[in-house]
Structures are given as structure tokens and as C-alpha cells.
């Protein structure tokens, strides 16, 4: 047996940046949030949970939270249902379908700025693609701006749930379908009684993962609407961004960030719990 201490040497090159850029900043962020920390005024006064109290009383925070939840509750089902539908249709081993799967996944590799640029042009009220069909300025419309962001997001990210569902479908044993065929089950019955129940775990996992991702929505809103019209699309991360890098209220913004962190950590915990048993097999 050889010495195991050398393991520390292997871990150190990663651990060093990890401690500097993850662990320390996390603590620092808590520290920030307990102070009134105005970057410009260089005013650093300990205020305890003052920032959190401020937050609880801040209507802009609540409105941002509401907008975030609104977006999440539209985007997550839309992504999950679209992804599931695509997976169910494209599951069959046709060469054409392999190509179509690649098409639906392709947009996932673009950056948020590419995607928003494309959709900004598509939705442009004068020269856009949509303008050829209907005459409406979607992104400046109080009721349509958020759905437009949802559509953009689904177009961008549907590949992820689709691929996860496809993987889930592949785990259903062929024999089960053959047995159902012998039992004269209709296509609809097979879908309802066999396929969908077998995908229950995958669906739950996809929902949680998408929730984590979509709750942190930022780029699409910043680049498509800037939070407008009249703050109807101003979401949490954007609120955090503005508090920090426009108003330079570091303490206050850190309080927002920490709340976000807790919410995401709880959700991630669920994700790990869901993911763990399958990994063991």
C-alpha cells in the first residue's frame, strides 16, 4: 500500500480556486448582506438582518418574485410538455427522425445573445417575421411580452427535456410493448397505461431541473425587454443585477442573491434525491 497523502496534491489544484471562488465568496456574500454596503459611497455599516427586512417590505422585490414565478409556471410546463411530445413522436428509429431530433436540439447550443437577437428580429413589429402575419408589437405589450419570452425560451431550450425524455423512453423494455400488443391495447392505451407511467420519474426530475434553470432566468429578459413594459417582465435575477450593478447597493443585492441561493439549494437537494437511486443501479 502506498501513501494516500499524495491525494491532497491531486486535489489541491482544483481545491484552491474552489475555495477562492466558491467557498470564500459565499461567506463574503453573507457578510455583504449583513451590511449597508454602498460601493460608491464606500459606506459600510453593520445592519444585521436589516437588508432582509428591507427586502420583505420592498414592493419591487415582491413584484420581481411574482414575475419570476409567473415566468417559471409558464415556461416549465411548456418546456416539459413540448419536450415530452417531441420525444414521443421522434422516438422511433427512422433516419429522418434522427435528423429532426438534431434540429430540435440544435438551438440549445447557442448563447442567450444569439437567441434573443434572432427573436428580436423575428418579433420586430415592422420588419419581423411575425409582422408578416399579424400587426402587433409583442415585446412592448403588457400581456404578450412575458409569453414571448416563454416562447423564446422554449425554442432555445426544448432540446434538453426532449433528450432526457428520449433517454427515459429507451429504458422501457421492448417486451412490455410487445406484451401490450398481444393484449390488443390501442396506441392511446399504451401511451396512457405504459409509456407515461414509466416516464413518471423522468418527468419529475425534468420538472425539478427545469425549475432550477428557469427560475434563474435573466439574459432573455435583459436583452429582449429590459424588464419592461412597465416592469411586467422584471424578474428576480434582473432585480438583483440592477440593485448591484446599476444602484450599487451591494449589501441589499447580496441579500437577494442569498435568498435565491437558498431557494436553488433546496431545489437542487430535491434533484439529487431524485437522481441518486437511479445512479446506484
Amino acid at each position: 500500500m502506498r501513501s494516500n497523502r499524495i491525494g491532497l496534491l491531486f486535489v489541491a489544484p482544483f481545491l484552491l480556486p474552489f475555495l477562492i471562488f466558491v467557498v470564500y465568496p459565499l461567506l463574503r456574500s453573507v457578510w455583504f448582506s449583513l451590511h449597508k454596503w454602498d460601493l460608491l459611497g464606500t459606506e459600510k455599516a453593520f445592519v444585521g438582518v436589516g437588508n432582509y427586512r428591507l427586502l420583505a417590505a420592498d414592493p419591487f422585490f415582491w413584484s420581481a418574485l411574482r414575475n419570476t414565478l409567473l415566468f417559471t409556471f409558464m415556461a416549465v410546463p411548456a418546456l416539459v410538455i413540448t419536450g415530452l411530445a417531441l420525444a414521443l413522436v421522434l422516438e422511433r428509429p427512422l433516419r429522418l427522425y434522427a435528423g429532426l431530433r438534431a434540429v430540435f436540439f440544435a438551438s440549445s447550443v447557442f448563447s442567450v445573445s444569439v437567441v434573443t437577437l434572432i427573436w428580436q428580429v423575428v418579433l420586430d413589429p415592422r420588419r419581423g417575421l411575425l409582422a408578416k402575419a399579424v400587426e402587433v408589437d409583442v415585446l412592448s405589450n403588457r400581456w404578450l411580452a412575458m409569453p414571448a419570452i416563454v416562447v423564446t425560451t422554449v425554442w432555445w431550450g426544448v432540446g434538453f427535456p426532449m433528450v432526457l425524455f428520449l433517454a427515459g423512453l429507451q429504458q422501457i423494455p421492448r417486451a412490455v410493448y410487445e406484451a401490450a400488443q398481444l393484449d390488443h391495447a390501442s396506441r392511446w392505451a399504451v401511451l396512457r397505461r405504459i409509456t407515461l407511467p414509466a416516464l413518471a420519474r423522468t418527468t419529475l426530475l425534468v420538472v425539478v431541473m427545469e425549475f432550477i434553470m428557469q427560475f434563474q432566468i435573466f439574459g432573455q429578459v435583459l436583452l429582449l425587454t429590459g424588464g419592461g413594459p412597465s416592469s411586467s417582465t422584471r424578474v428576480l435575477v434582473m432585480y438583483l443585477y440592477e440593485s448591484a450593478f446599476r444602484d450599487w447597493q451591494l449589501g441589499y443585492a447580496s441579500a437577494v442573491a442569498n435568498l435565491l441561493f437558498i431557494a436553488m439549494a433546496v431545489a437542487s437537494f430535491f434533484q439529487l434525491r431524485l437522481g441518486a437511486p437511479r445512479e446506484a443501479t
Binding site: N4, P13, V122
Partner: protein
């Protein structure tokens, strides 16, 4: 049995139509990028009436796009390379070397995966501001090599390699480091490829942190550069030029996608542990 001549099922036609519709935005902006800007002021047709390469030519002549692409390439490649090195070193140790404190350290690193970047951005910003390192490549690279996902992936992978192979190497007088370099790393090629692709894509598409840190246009990455071009296109005459920029800037990821499509899809599916 002879082949049955079946009519194409409705389903196939329907889903193909949906796919075409799905691609329509891409096809359309490609068409736009190939048309003269003046013509686009009048109409933005799906099928170009006039085709020109001038928008692409201007990219190199007048814009900062080449510079941004270079920044992106430097930053993304550095992040990818460093992530591969650090993750495989750490993953190997976590999987195979029972060093003191291994369990605790591993738990800490795994907990790190749950932290959203927004929670870390403000302290990062302050750290780099106080060391006057904003608007450098280092500022874009360093925070990004601390991600725990790669370590998780590599740990899982190395755990799956039979212990006997390492023991054979031990009997063959190979030390830990030689075993790592000559045996484990070559075996880890599939995992390293997957991790490399995802890291590169993530770094190339990184948005929030570069936007906060790189504030001078010459330090923009292509992702930030494109973001900076938004909003003003409505007024700009250069719709075709802008679309050419988008397409040209996306070429690297498109090429990567075309080459590694299987790997990428399998990587995503494998993320489930499926």
C-alpha cells in the same frame, strides 16, 4: 415478404412541418444576412431577391467581431483546458486515493454544485475590482475553473474503472502520478471529451459574469459583443450586417455541434445517470 407501399403517415408529415417551422427563424436570418442592407429597408423576404456577401466581408473590415471571437476563443479554450486538468486530477483522487479528509472535502465540493452563480457574482466583482483585474482574460477564466460539475463527472467515471487495472500498474512499478498519466487519463478519454465539449460550450456562451467583468469593448467576448448590439438594430440600417454577425459568431458552436452531436446528446442524457 415484399415491401409494402405505405402512404407516408400523417404524423411524419406533421412533425416535419413543425421542424421546418422551428428552423424558420434560422433560415430567415440566414437569408437576411445574404441581402444588401438597403434592400432590407424595404422588405425582409424569406427568399432573397438579391444575394450578396458584402455583409460578411464588412465583418472583418469594420467590426470588432474578429476581436471578440478571439477573446472568446482564448477564454473558452483556457477554461476548457484548465477544467479538464483540474477535474481529472481531483476526480481521480476522490475516486481512488483514500487521503485524509476525502469524504468531507468531496461533500463540500458536491455542495458547491448547488450554488447558483448569482450568489457568487457580487463577491467576484469586488475581488477583481480590488485587484484591478477586471477587463482581463484572467478575470473571465479564473472563476470558471472552480466549477464542481467536472469533478463530479470525473469522480464518477474513475470510480467505474476496475481497481485491478490500477493494481496491475502498481505491481508494474508505476507510481500514482505515472498511473494517472499513462493509464487513467487515456482510459478517461470519452469522459474528458464530453466534459470538454460541455465546458467549452458553457464558456463560449457565458453571459452574466463576462457582462459584469468585461466592460471595455475590446475585452468583450462574442456573446457579450452580440448582446451589446441588441436593441439598436431597429433603427440601424444594417439588419443584414447584424444577422451576418449573428451567424458568423455562431459558426464555432454550430461546427462543434455538427461534429460532436452524438457526444453532446449522449452527455445530456447521461447527466440523468441513465
Amino acid at each position: 415478404m415484399g415491401k409494402k407501399l405505405r402512404p407516408v403517415p400523417v404524423e411524419v408529415i406533421a412533425i416535419t412541418l413543425v421542424a421546418v417551422l422551428w428552423m424558420l427563424p434560422m433560415l430567415w436570418i440566414t437569408a437576411l444576412s445574404l441581402q444588401p442592407n438597403r434592400a432590407l429597408l424595404r422588405a425582409t423576404p424569406l427568399i432573397p431577391t438579391q444575394v450578396t456577401g458584402e455583409n460578411y466581408a464588412r465583418l472583418f473590415a469594420v467590426s470588432e467581431v474578429p476581436r471578440w471571437l478571439l477573446n472568446s476563443a482564448i477564454v473558452a479554450l483556457a477554461i476548457t483546458l484548465l477544467t479538464l486538468i483540474l477535474s481529472s486530477l481531483a476526480g481521480y483522487a476522490f475516486a481512488r486515493i483514500a487521503f485524509p479528509g476525502r469524504k468531507a472535502v468531496f461533500a463540500l465540493v458536491m455542495a458547491g454544485m448547488m450554488i447558483p452563480e448569482q450568489a457568487l457574482l457580487l463577491p467576484w466583482h469586488e475581488m477583481f475590482a480590488s485587484t484591478h483585474l477586471h477587463n482581463t482574460h484572467a478575470a473571465l477564466v479564473l472563476p470558471r475553473i472552480s466549477g464542481a460539475f467536472g469533478v463530479f463527472l470525473m469522480t464518477q467515471f474513475f470510480k467505474g474503472i476496475p481497481r485491478e487495472i490500477e493494481e496491475a500498474a502498481e505491481l508494474d512499478n508505476a507510481g500514482r502520478f505515472r498511473t494517472f498519466i499513462t493509464i487513467m487519463l487515456p482510459l478517461a478519454r470519452p469522459a474528458l471529451t464530453t466534459l470538454g465539449i460541455f465546458t467549452f460550450l458553457g464558456a463560449w456562451n457565458d453571459f452574466f459574469w463576462p457582462m459584469v467583468s468585461a466592460t471595455r469593448t475590446e475585452m468583450y467576448t462574442i456573446t457579450i459583443g452580440l448582446a451589446s448590439l441588441q436593441g439598436n438594430f431597429a433603427q440601424s440600417e444594417g439588419l443584414g450586417f447584424l444577422m451576418a454577425t449573428v451567424i458568423f459568431a455562431s459558426l464555432p458552436v454550430i461546427v462543434l455541434y455538427v461534429i460532436f452531436q452524438r457526444h453532446i446528446v449522449r452527455g445530456v442524457a447521461g447527466g440523468l445517470g441513465a
